[in-house]
């Protein structure tokens, strides 16, 4: 490609610019003006979202490295929105926790940039760099509260795991390169069509799956998830679950879609096993949790299992189901963590112990109601986005002929239903031991939660528009 179409990467440019501006603003202006930074950040992601929504970069990848087509655009909008919600949650939260500095906002934006790179990369180098940028920003975001031991601990755990995983990724890419001689995803993945036994590809696939599996916390790479979710500031958790997971999964999905049948046949069993293990272990372990964030962490592990189910059936329906599921999942989890972000036991600490949620339904009806709706949606009950998502995933997986997996999925759904009901029971049905809950939405969080609620219900009742968007997105990469 000869001339560069700048506007095709306008999204990324905007984010980079925004990030740098915020840093500089934070560096130059004394006594960091929180609201200015917040405004800058939200403005950036909002504009970015709009840009990604409006500007069509065309099919040709930018620099043969970065997909700027509908597929990437869809996810970019998703990430930008997720970041927007996370920022809105953090407005009051970050203020209370005294982390609302330029680093917080700027790194959030850089994280979004990393996501968009991971999701859009058509070339391994970009994928790797995006992966690194993403992880790096999150290491710091998780550790934002330097005074809180749990935050640092979570960050260190995530960091160590993340570095090992990036080691795996790097080595995986190396193997890929060694096997195919190219760093270009489509070329490399389709190359193996011809050569009968590109076993090197299997090795690299294994390595890359490990790295990705860590990021999207599949069993047995999920162990960090509860710790980090619990330790991180809640808005960061929200972005972590709704952003980075989806980004990595989008990249993985691209790989699966592009990979040759030879590779697919050999990798499907692995995915099957991962899905089954994730579904069962995730939902079972959640049963015993007594802290809401950990509980949600395990439940999100189980949710990833459904995502992998959808990914397995990508050959049957082109990934429509899984992407829809992800969108729904992002909404629900953002909602759930958003509500939690508005609840504090004390200005310093989150409301985390399940028992401290007793009688929340009556002391804070709105939060409780929102949380319940998000939980019911996670449980896959109508009329919510989660229900349609589950519906599509199960349909797809049956279409692909994985009956046993579908059964496992149902079993896991029943188990996790109990988990979500447990929270609802505590909020509405346990005798009200009133906890000193000094919490409330700020305007920002209220706005965000309202939007999310609408989204959850709207996608649950009228999913068609979303589906058309998604089908256009997957039409852009299916080869």
């Amino acid at each position: 490609m000869t001339e560069l179409s700048w506007k095709s990467v306008f999204f990324q440019l905007l984010l980079a610019a925004g990030g740098i501006t915020i840093f500089t603003a934070g560096a130059l202006l004394k006594n960091k003006p929180k609201h200015l930074l917040f405004g800058l950040a939200t403005g950036t992601v909002l504009c970015a979202a709009i840009a990604a929504f409006l500007i069509d970069g065309g099919r040709a990848p930018f620099f043969q490295m970065l997909d700027v087509g509908d597929y990437a655009r869809f996810f970019n909008v998703l990430f930008a929105m997720a970041a927007l919600f996370a920022l809105l949650f953090s407005h009051r939260h970050a203020g209370l926790r005294r982390v609302a500095g330029d680093e917080f906002y700027g790194l959030m934006i850089l994280a979004v940039l990393g996501m968009s790179l991971v999701a859009g990369a058509t070339q391994w180098l970009v994928f790797f760099l995006g992966f690194e940028l993403l992880s790096l920003s999150f290491y710091i975001l998780i550790a934002m509260r330097r005074d809180a031991p749990s935050g640092i601990e979570a960050a260190l755990k995530y960091l160590i795991m993340g570095m090992v995983s990036s080691g795996f990724l790097a080595f995986g890419i190396a193997m890929f390169y060694a096997a195919t001689g190219t760093l270009d995803m489509p070329v490399g993945l389709t190359a193996t069509k011809s050569t009968g036994s590109a076993t090197g590809m299997l090795l690299s696939l294994g390595l890359i799956l490990t790295a990705a599996g860590f990021k999207i916390s599949l069993v047995p790479f999920h162990l960090w998830t509860p710790d980090v979710y619990q330790g991180a500031p809640t808005p960061v958790t929200a972005l972590l679950t709704a952003g980075s997971k989806i980004a990595v999964f989008a990249g993985l999905l691209r790989i699966l879609i592009l990979s040759s049948n030879w590779l697919w046949e050999r990798s499907a069993p692995v995915l099957w096993m991962l899905a089954a293990a994730t579904l069962l272990i995730g939902s079972v372990t959640a049963l015993a949790q007594t802290r809401v964030k950990r509980l949600l962490a395990y439940s999100s592990v189980a949710q990833m299992g459904y995502a992998v189910m959808g990914a397995l059936s990508v050959r049957a329906d082109g990934g429509l189901a899984v992407i829809f599921y992800f969108t729904a999942y992002a909404l629900m989890d953002l909602g759930a963590f958003g509500v939690i972000a508005t609840l504090c036991a004390s200005p310093e600490s989150d409301l985390d112990a399940l028992d401290s949620y007793r009688g929340l339904g009556y002391s804070h009806p709105w939060q409780a109601a929102l949380l319940s709706i998000c939980l019911l949606s996670l449980a896959g009950l109508p009329p919510t986005a989660g229900f349609i998502g589950k519906f599509m995933v199960f349909k797809a997986v049956l279409q692909a002929g994985y009956f046993v997996l579908a059964m496992i999925g149902i079993a896991s759904a029943i188990l996790s239903l109990y988990v979500y009901l447990k929270v609802i029971v505590v909020m509405f049905m346990k005798p009200n031991t009133v906890t000193a809950v000094t919490s409330g939405f700020g305007t920002a969080a209220r706005l965000a939660l309202a939007m999310i609620l609408c989204g959850v219900l709207w996608a649950g009742v009228f999913p068609s528009p979303l589906q058309t968007l998604i089908s256009r997105a997957i039409a852009a990469i299916s080869i």
Binding site: E103, G130, R146, T195, T199, L202
Partner: protein, 171 residues
Amino acid sequence: MTVFNIIFYIAAAIVVGATGLAITRKQVVHAVCYLVISFMGTAVLFYILGAPLLAALEVIIYAGGIMVLFLFVVMMVKDTPPSIDKPSRVKRWLPAMILAGTSALISGLLVFADPGNRLRPPIVTGTPQEFGNILFKDYWFPVEIASLLLLAALIGAHYLGRRADHPEDTP
């Protein structure tokens, strides 16, 4: 059996040996020193595998930069209790060894099973010129990203390195 081969195998042996020592030391400082040796060996390998520039960078960045940084920090942190840990406990090493062994074996098998890997590539040196050309002609976009990456790292390191009770943070 040319001199190149000999150098390659010797260097490889050195690298493996040094690494092996590095990962088994009690004292962090010793580990770092052995690691420096292994990086030197890696540099040699890079050189004979036709990547002179990378060889140089390996010495400069890894051995020169990162490891020194390591040492600084290790010095700076006073470890209580001093960061000595006893690596030689079987119950801790055995599972790791088994896992590592199996994965190594299977990976080796997979690599070996690929006929494409059997051939013996000729040596061609990638000169710094063409390296630079390609880097800044085709790869300036990743370079930009890398710069952002470093920026983020910088900010983060600075933020985390500061004492928590920094006046700026308390609103």
